[in-house]
Symmetry: C2
Subunit: 174 residues, 2 copies
DNA sequence: TAGATAAATGGAGAAGCTCTCCGTATATTA
DNA sequence: TAATATACGGAGAGCTTCTCCATTTATCTA
């Protein structure tokens, strides 16, 4: 990749992070391009769709979540490890203002995205298995993402996400 | 209201039901107006925002849900009544393709909408109380709506909604 | 029944969106 | 330094939501 192209790609990504964080679902690709100081054409060449942009942003954080999961898998309390990790997943999803949920849930479309999805699934299923939970990992992850999404929609209440997660996790092993 | 206005209002509502059911979040108000055989200006006078349109459509179904809740309150098994009603709420929310969830969760903005919200809350809290559940009705409803939303996002799987609801309801009294 | 009036209509158009195309500018290579 | 491949940005097409106002029409009154 040409060095100026790389630079522009990075600037678009940085602008997109800011814009998504600020505007959520109302983010405009035009404004992202403007904020990055590039033309719309440039943005679309690097990221042909909103998904592509999100995938690039999300991949980093998924890697962090997986690493955290591996750490927890090495720890001693399987039930606590599972609940801790699910909470981390939820916080991550909520921070992305619902995008992660929408994108990850609907996965399997983009190769990169389903890569993320598979990585999360893998760690999740091992954590579930070690805690003797029999529910499908897809269902549990969908539920956790849904809770993150819900807590986004409602008026801000710092404790709500925890209460919603508790509705699910309290039936899991302690 | 003048009779022609009433007629147009009804036609817009009918068109909106069809369009929302067919297109989901991608529904276009232009097309709704076109389908109803009215100009955009007419649509916007009757319903100044998408929310207003949704509120009108939703109000009917909320009334049905409340009636169902009252029936169940008169029955004999509090735990079963609660689970049955929560499932009905979820099916209703899913049928609205996520709009109900978004709108009802974010409530308290439009008077009509918060009316719906209050009605649902009222029935829900009585069902919860009778089943000796101590969770806040808002949290439970948010969780149920979130599950309906999640099941919408994922590839169609008729049993998924039930599995997701079970993640919540299995910790409630049987 | 006919005229007055208040209300509703619908379409033109402003502003913003996504996304494409292509002439121009520039980084890289020989 | 010259040639070439690549990336650039912005004009513009075709959407969208939403507003304004000249025109039409239902309803009321005499």
């Amino acid at each position: 990749m040409r060095s100026d192209a790389q630079q522009n790609r990075d600037r678009v990504l940085a602008a997109a992070r800011v814009e998504f964080a600020a505007q959520g679902a109302g983010a405009s690709l035009n404004r992202i391009a403007q904020r990055a100081g590039v033309g719309p054409g440039t943005l679309y060449r690097h990221f042909p769709s909103v998904q592509a942009l999100l995938v690039a942003i999300i991949s980093d954080e998924v890697a962090v979540l997986c690493a955290r999961g591996e750490e927890l898998l090495a720890g001693s309390d399987p039930g606590l490890a599972l609940r801790t990790w699910l909470r981390a997943v939820a916080v991550h999803a909520a921070a992305m203002r619902g995008f992660v949920a929408v994108e990850l849930l609907g996965a399997a479309e983009s190769p990169a995205l389903s890569g993320c999805h598979d990585a999360i699934r893998d760690v999740g299923s091992r954590l579930l298995h070690r805690a003797s939970v029999e529910d499908a990992v897809d269902d549990v992850l969908a539920a956790v993402n849904a809770m993150a999404w819900a807590s986004e929609q409602l008026p801000a209440d710092p404790a709500r996400l925890d209460r919603l997660l508790t509705l699910i996790t309290r039936s899991l092993p302690h």
